[in-house]
């Protein structure tokens, strides 16, 4: 009988691991620990369509309850691990139980980073991570409040787009000199920023907030380091995430910007894997250890781990890709592009549909597309095939990513 598998965390990575194991005919016991008391669900819509009331809770669910039963995946709701006992190969649960494992998969994800000053506890200061957060924000947005969004990353911009669409007044405060600086190249940051400004979203760049001023448990304004104040009725804090690696660290596993794993996604313990937002892995694609926060990474790492539990020795090497919906901007990124030193625009930004091809040290590292999924798919094919396209290739008159992918 194959060993029992315990998966800590029922986000995209954890759920995918369980179902991929069954798809690969793994016959051992599978237990999935879900910290929430709701069937595992998709998070990407929470900062997008869900806020507009256009998505029901049930349509966020990955898999029906019956499917967990028929696939014999035991899902433990509202329970999670509090300790990993590597000597006895078991995990201690919040419920007091002790669950033995043969193989353990840590898919604990991440939590929102909090501000380095007080204010997070105020009644009109929100975060956006889980369904409950999104539900509360959805209600608040109906009041069309004056909103301050702290952090101009994907989540902040997605939320701001919807809030503006719903009639709120929105100001984004970003510490860096451009929006989405961690994820995309300056060309794309500038374009997206202009679109948001044109829609009436205010964006303050290179602005540091030093305090949230309040009155009777409600934030009233943000205090800037230059002495100015930004009045607000609702604050969204979206300043990035922190990997949930404490369980692993307490168990003596190597942790450095997340739980360190090798190319086959094993932690420093051969019976324990870590995947998804919480895992830091050697990326062949970027040539260094990285941690990715994306659906693609969670899903593809889950599949690799399932294969390795089934007895292969598969190295993880998928091409990273991710997306963001901001009003009518569909932003798609293939590869890792934020550190590009050379960019070439393909198509005409004036049409609202174009791509930015990115190079680092003359190496093709990825493509950022605006409203151009065909370019995005072509870029993924080029990257997956290891095609070494050059600045000259894409600059050639008439050249498109699609034509290059076909040649």
């Amino acid at each position: 009988m194959p060993e029992p598998v315990v998966i800590i965390g029922a986000g995209q990575a954890g759920v995918q691991t369980a179902f991929s194991l069954r798809d690969m005919d793994y016959s051992g016991e599978i237990t999935l620990l879900n910290g929430e008391n709701f069937l595992p669900y998709q998070r990407p819509p929470l900062s997008k369509s869900y806020l507009k009331n256009s998505v029901t809770d049930s349509s966020l669910i990955f898999r029906n309850e019956q499917l967990y039963e028929s696939k014999q995946i035991e899902i433990m709701q509202a329970s999670t691990a509090i300790k990993i006992n590597r000597q006895t190969k078991s995990v201690s649960l919040t419920t007091g139980e002790e669950l033995p494992y043969g193989k353990l998969v840590i898919a604990t994800g991440a939590r929102n980073r909090i501000l380095p000053f007080d204010g997070g506890e105020l009644k009109n200061v929100f975060q956006l991570r889980g369904l409950e957060d999104a539900k509360r924000l959805r209600l608040e947005l109906q009041k069309k409040p004056k909103i301050a969004v702290i952090g101009g990353g994907f989540i902040g911009l997605e939320f701001a787009s919807i809030a503006k669409e719903l009639g709120a007044q929105v100001t984004i405060v970003e510490a860096a000199s451009r929006v989405m600086a961690r994820a995309v190249c300056p060309t794309l940051s500038d374009y997206v920023q202009k679109v948001h400004l044109a829609r009436g979203i205010e964006i303050l760049l290179a602005q540091k907030i030093v305090a949230i001023n309040s009155s009777s448990d409600f934030a009233t304004d943000l205090q800037m380091h230059d002495g100015s104040k930004l009045p607000c009725e609702l604050v969204l804090v979206s300043v990035g995430i922190i990997p949930n690696s404490e369980l692993a660290e307490a168990a003596g596993l190597t942790v450095s910007n997340g739980i360190q794993v090798d190319a086959t996604l094993h932690t420093s313990d051969p019976d324990i894997f870590a995947i998804g937002d919480c895992a830091c892995f050697p990326s062949d694609f970027s040539g260094r250890n990285i941690r990715l926060e994306s659906v693609q990474n969670a899903v593809d790492q889950a599949k690799t781990v399932a294969e390795n539990i089934c007895g292969t020795s598969t190295e993880y090497g998928s091409i990273p890709w991710f997306w963001s919906d901001q009003s009518d901007l569909k932003i798609q990124i293939a590869g890792l592009t934020s550190n590009a030193d050379t960019t070439v625009v393909s198509g005409d930004p004036a049409t609202g549909k174009f791509s930015v091809c990115c190079f680092t040290n003359n190496r093709f590292v990825g493509v950022e597309s605006i409203n151009h999924p065909a370019d995005h798919m072509a870029a993924r094919r080029l990257l997956a095939a290891g095609r070494k396209i050059t600045v000259q290739d894409i600059s050639h008159p008439g050249a498109t990513l699609k034509s290059l992918a076909k040649s």
């Binding site: 049930s58 898999r63 499917l67 997306w323 999924p373 065909a374």
Partner: protein, 107 residues
């Protein structure tokens, strides 16, 4: 509830009652039907929920928008005149009895 019939490449038919407002992709994936993946969760971003729609229902569906049009050019199996992304087809009474066929491959 709206009746939807999913047909796999080997001809196996699965009838399902789908709640109004749920996409045909979501209904298939959450019930564990092999045939669509829907990796992006329904944002028309990944082209892994491609289906062939029974021709008699084509006109009852919302028109293909620019994004879906581009993604349909990127499907793993051949695009046909009846091709749609199932994440863009919402269940409603107009399409009661719709039949969709899964393509050979999604990736």
């Amino acid at each position: 509830m709206v009746k939807v019939t999913y047909i796999s490449t080997d001809g196996t038919e699965t009838d399902m009652d789908v709640a109004e407002g749920t996409s045909l992709m979501q209904a298939a994936v959450s019930s564990g039907l092999d045939g669509v993946i829907g990796e992006c969760g329904g944002s028309a971003m990944c082209a892994t929920c491609h289906v062939y729609v029974d021709a008699s229902f084509l006109e009852k569906l919302p028109a293909i928008d620019d994004m879906e049009e581009e993604m349909l050019e990127c499907t793993s199996s051949d695009r046909r005149p009846t091709s749609r992304l199932s994440c863009q087809i919402e269940s409603n009474s107009d399409i009661d009895g719709i039949r969709v066929t899964f393509p050979e491959t999604q990736v």
